[in-house]
Amino acid sequence: TADFTLSNGEVSVTFNGKTRTTKGMKRNGMKREFTQELLYYISMEGNNSAAGFRASGAYIFRPNGKDPVSPGEPTRTIVYRGDVVEEVHQEYGNWLSQVTRLYGSSPWLEMKWLVGPIPFQDGVGKEVINRMHLDMATGGKFHTDSNGRESLTRTRDKRDSFTLGEEYESVAGNYYPINSRLFLRDEGQGTQFTVLTDRAQGGGSIHDGELELMIHRRCLRDDAFGVGEALNETAHGEGLVASGSHYALLSEVNEGMDMIKEEEKRIFYEPLAVFSPTTMTLQDFT
């Protein structure tokens, strides 16, 4: 039950040995509390008879309640330390797992998630998120990208173009499209925490110091916006498995964007891998 650490000399991430979830992140003299969890919202079932009874589905995300559900502590956690990469493999039951890894001297922490088939036999739709929390004072604000270009500041329960009355959907009402990045800034500390995605996703900052991204969903009711069927992959038997990565960086506010643009290009322009069997000797090859 002792705490353990992933480290590559550039960045280190400490895990709580008892719960086996992350508890801290350190880089370049910056040290922050850092918790990261895979959780899921329960989909609103509704009956689509009126706006207040709208079901969560393909067009809209509408959780039943404000708080996501934890799948529990990891049922299995294995730490691998090599010369090129350090990895923590974690499983949560038989449908949710994650690899957390640090390569070489890269400052980016990779969280590679694998979700599905999402169980539905209990009759409950589930919408899985990756949620990260840091001890940062963010004043209700976070930042999202606009098609990979400029960053927009989003303020909780506020709209720039009109006066928002009471926000009845405190989670969904604060979700935004994320094409490539979202980040938190603590101007007092001068620190920034950024997460890059490998695809467009929905995301938000429901509480200060918190970021979350929707990674996979299975809803059992049609939301009556026109698809005409539930977001449920029964045609594929058990259901679909989704896999992807989030890349996280702890930085100073003024160094962040440079590193972010560079890493975004690396993710988007991934090298093409081609494999060729050969009978050449090494000498012939060189």
Binding site: I78, E91, N94, A273
Partner: protein, 186 residues
Amino acid sequence: EENLSQMRQVMGVNMHHDAVTGTAKQHVTDDYYRLISLGLDATWPVVRDALKSMMEAGQTLEMSRCPFLNISWCEVSERENTLILTLYNPLGRPRSHPARVPVPASENGDAPAYRVYDHTGAEQTVDVMPIPSPVLTVPGRSSSAKFELVFLASLPPMGFANFYITRADSKSKSGDLQETEVMDDN
């Protein structure tokens, strides 16, 4: 041109808002996937021939792509004891890229030993990482790979680098992997 146009048409179809956002019926979504897959198949000979024309010994190589690398499945790297991995970098600057190559276990089920060399013959530092067990059991995966060979590949801007990968009897630059399972109180 005909092959590339097939992919162009597929990309056109997939710009429909339902394809972008996931608001299509499942069987329509399946059709989008089918079209993308056919488009990639059509484009592959163009990519392959371009790479061959750039490489001195390119015409002698039987090049394959591995579309299931996202679930750590690649028939060539699982079957062959010696192979060449070509990595093309579309980015206009040099980069270090973590290459991950699916490989089978050794005869006794342990991590196999591999050696990797760059085009100068310099041996690369490698790790042989176990593939997480949830990946091994992804529905539809039919692969013998239980491990991934991992190394940091240095790639030139908008160009390619070749790596010679060979299965070895003993480890060389492969560091000994430390494995620790973290248990709870029970």
